[in-house]
Symmetry: C2
Subunit: 469 residues, 2 copies
Amino acid sequence: MKAAIIGGGVIGGGWAARFLLNGWDVDIFDLDPEAERKIGEVLSNARQALPHLYDKALPNEGKLSFKNSIATCVENADWVQESVPERLDLKLKVHEEINNFAPKTAFIGSSTSGFKPSEINQNGTRAFVAHPFNPVYLLPLVELVGAPQDSGLILESIGMFALNIRKEIDAHIADRLLEAVWREALWLVKDGIATTEEIDESIRMGFGLRWAQMGLFETYRIAGGEAGMKHFMAQFGPCLSLPWTKLMDVPEFDDALVNLIAEQSDAQSGSLSIRELERQRDSNLIGFMRHLKAQNWGAGKVIAQHEQKLHAKIGSIENKKITTGKGRVLPSWIDYNGHMTEYRYGQILADGVDELLIMAGLDLSDLSQGGSYFTVENHVNYLSEMKLGEEYHIEARIMAFDDKRLHVYQRVYTENGSCAASGEHMLLYVDAKTRKVGGAPKQIMEALNQFAAYHANIDIPNDAGKVGK
Amino acid sequence: MKAAIIGGGVIGGGWAARFLLNGWDVDIFDLDPEAERKIGEVLSNARQALPHLYDKALPNEGKLSFKNSIATCVENADWVQESVPERLDLKLKVHEEINNFAPKTAFIGSSTSGFKPSEINQNGTRAFVAHPFNPVYLLPLVELVGAPQDSGLILESIGMFALNIRKEIDAHIADRLLEAVWREALWLVKDGIATTEEIDESIRMGFGLRWAQMGLFETYRIAGGEAGMKHFMAQFGPCLSLPWTKLMDVPEFDDALVNLIAEQSDAQSGSLSIRELERQRDSNLIGFMRHLKAQNWGAGKVIAQHEQKLHAKIGSIENKKITTGKGRVLPSWIDYNGHMTEYRYGQILADGVDELLIMAGLDLSDLSQGGSYFTVENHVNYLSEMKLGEEYHIEARIMAFDDKRLHVYQRVYTENGSCAASGEHMLLYVDAKTRKVGGAPKQIMEALNQFAAYHANIDIPNDAGKVGK
């Protein structure tokens, strides 16, 4: 599959990363001579971030090319995404050209924040609105307006959440809400009620945390308590007539206001570079979404569904070498000593054992019918420190097994080939219904038998053999 | 310290929980005959939630009493918090009574969403605005208006974040922003552009995730990229004149609109009870804030600072028994088998070893000067399953030590007294600068010596002794 990205700023670059890291080839057209460097930076962020949402590997990255015309860029494209600046005359011109050269079967999305499809297509073109949110490589939301039905499926296949909007309207949905907050916030700064930093704290210390997992209405439904939504509205409704807002008027956007906000923003965030802020933001978003994934809630549900569909497995067997894990040390795994904290070794080793069981044919998603392996003993040797961002992989060896027991030995290797830790694991097969030990299925025994044969003639490691003696 | 809570709804109950769980005594006055039951439910939620933000124990819970008059409730109070319904006549009456009976030294806060201090105090009372956010026992934000300086310190001492607002204004800051979104959202529903569920998705799949960790301005600063905040505003500013909003008008809040929203909200969230929604919300907020704590960012910074000040330690020594951990199995610790996942045993055991080191006098917050212990080997025996919500504690025993090595044995006990796991740990003392082994400080050696003596005459456990042979 091939995506054509027209306009390679922060948003276009984010789209490029989202497609590329999900295995699509991506062609980019942008007149800016700096486009390649800028997109390189977005891509570098995305490569550090997106894979950490999932516990399975993403597909192999697609091929990235820069083109010097819209015509060559959109050639053979399955999806064309326009993200040029928010000027209607420019968008009209670009979409005319896309329309002339893109395949008739291609989906043509516009990242416009505010324009309606009827405005963009006033010269007979066939684009729809596909409005994403920065960082596009992490946040799932895409607002679709006037889009063909299958476009949503394609967005889901690259891990996004398509929100179909029923009627076209200026600024769609989310940007209307953001515009409302923006206007009120401008008044608060202009009137000297609060600084940009104080306004930001009033959001992220309170309702911002709520909105990362439930929106406006579900939050208020809870606030209404057992009496429900009608009760809440009866309480809150009359406030519409109170002077709680200056929204009936628009602040004058003059140089004084622009300077005031720029100065306050510098004082608030100037100690960190934009790159540092981006990395902090991405790390936080990953943390939130991984938590939501474990809860199968909100944005985490989107991540979990995408993960289920990922074909690529972490585990692999090559040259009789059984790899049961690979990844990179995440920021939240670092402890006060500045290296990967102790129990995270246990986590990646435990995940490795799970992967081995999956490779042997155990279906971890449906254990109610049969049984499962329970770990009864672990032994970890910590051989070297692991640092932030360091890549690692895990190799496994079956030490012994029968239909009750499974004895596995694993080694964690870092980028430079050294062994950072070894783990030895004794597991028992337990029937899900009787909770008694034994009776592991034949096909799993056969797979384990094959795995064990790979290492039959290799010496037993020095540090193995202390478990289950 | 004693808090008097006047009005025991969701907000008053949240305040009560926040104070109680931070060791304050709490007296409550509410005319509702159901108040005791309702506050009991908020407290039950809070007890399941707040302690999980921290890795140290909160102080022992204070004493909770229900009073039948404002006069007896505010007696001897250090802090009085009024959370009665949002009607000015009612607030005036209540504050007159508080003013007559509360100690002159008491802080008197009002949870009002909209009224200014000058309105509440028009009859000569001395309240200030202390506006919290639901759930009060988890979200840190309190907006202070017209408050004495020390009030912020008290709020910090119960784990909250005090935002001082410079000038009094209707609805303070956050509720002005919420009111703006609420108005625009009402238009979107009324005009049939989106349902309540679609609006909620447009928030929590996109900008809501951003706002849980950076607010409006810091997020836009990033969007402006290297060109900075002025560049962003030059792009976004002109939108103020575009028809991106219907905020210049107010939707009529008639029965038709109320019914439309109530029906859509039922369709969206009706499959879960309010209690279930609350638990899901709390679990998500805990997950976000724990992640932010690890990053020392935003709300997590508030949690981390409060944690540092918590006097109560997890670790304790009683009757020569060394307790190095206690807690409850959290939802995110459960795996596909329905019990506590394997590596979490490793985590609580590793935390236990850290606690033991703290008890022996090691300062984990400043290792740059001296040195620290590094774990080189762990051995865990998994003896029984641990279920969601189950309480546990960990007991430790020093097996052997010198100025290089420390050999510790720990057992995890569950509520019913059975041993769920044992862990054996070999650690080496490493000098922070030379990264060489040895030279553990004398006072730590002395503490370990004392600990070891407690068990000198007790048999070595059966499952110990396999490590470091």
